[in-house]
């Protein structure tokens, strides 16, 4: 069983609030990723990191930001939440190949 955790699992918040979605893994993986997934739709990569102090934007443009200060921790922040940010956010990590990832359970975000 992969050890990757996301909190909160569900979040309902008002427009304009700042939020941080937490993601932690205990496997010591250097590679970590954030995806956005709407119901019935494909996953879209929004951020990734190949190690501490290294972050890159993914294919889907996102107003969120990420940081990677510790290997095990990869939080995602929205400075000012909007209804268009309503979605499921999935965090993943990988030891070697990008495609072989362990996913967390996801955070379902609703912005009112």
């Amino acid at each position: 069983e992969a050890d990757i955790y996301q909190t909160p699992r569900y979040l309902v918040i008002g427009t304009g609030k700042k939020i941080t979605l937490e993601c932690s893994q205990t496997m010591g993986h250097d590679k970590m990723y954030w995806y956005q997934q709407d119901p019935g739709m494909e996953l879209h990569l929004i951020h990734y990191s190949y190690g501490v102090n290294s972050t890159e934007k993914g294919d889907l443009s996102s107003e969120s930001t990420v940081s990677r200060i510790r290997t095990e921790h990869f939080p995602l922040t929205l400075e000012s939440a909007r209804p268009s940010h309503t979605s499921q956010y999935l965090c993943a990590s990988s030891e070697l190949r990008d495609g072989e990832q362990f996913f967390g359970p996801g955070t379902r975000l609703t912005v009112l």
Partner: protein, 105 residues
């Protein structure tokens, strides 16, 4: 532009009725094609990696195969617990929309 297309979008089978899911891709410099299973409300679970045409991987009732243009996920004698959405992805982390499989008892 890298693209991964899965078909059918949904598939309903009776328990024991074998079938196949398709994943076609146009990914430049493909260095791996990956299959995942996703249950409702959960993150995807990694199943297989395929690297070269002709390669096959098996796990329980699932077998994944790869040609130069597409991959198939064959499900042999499925059980209701195989019900899930099956995703494929290219090396550049481009995911398909998935095939939602329902296996009725």
């Amino acid at each position: 532009e890298d693209q991964v297309t899965q078909s059918p979008e949904a598939l309903r089978l009776q328990e024991g009725e074998s079938s196949s899911l398709n994943c076609s891709y146009t990914v430049s410099g493909l260095r791996g094609l990956f299959w995942y299973r996703q249950d409702p409300g959960k993150g995807p679970e990694f199943l297989f990696t395929l690297y070269s045409a002709g390669e096959e991987k098996e796990k329980e009732r699932l077998k994944a195969t790869l040609t130069k243009k597409e991959s198939f996920l064959h499900i042999t004698a499925p059980k209701p617990e195989d019900s899930a959405t099956y995703l494929c992805a290219g090396q550049k982390l481009v995911f398909g929309k998935g095939t939602k499989l329902t296996v009725n008892p």
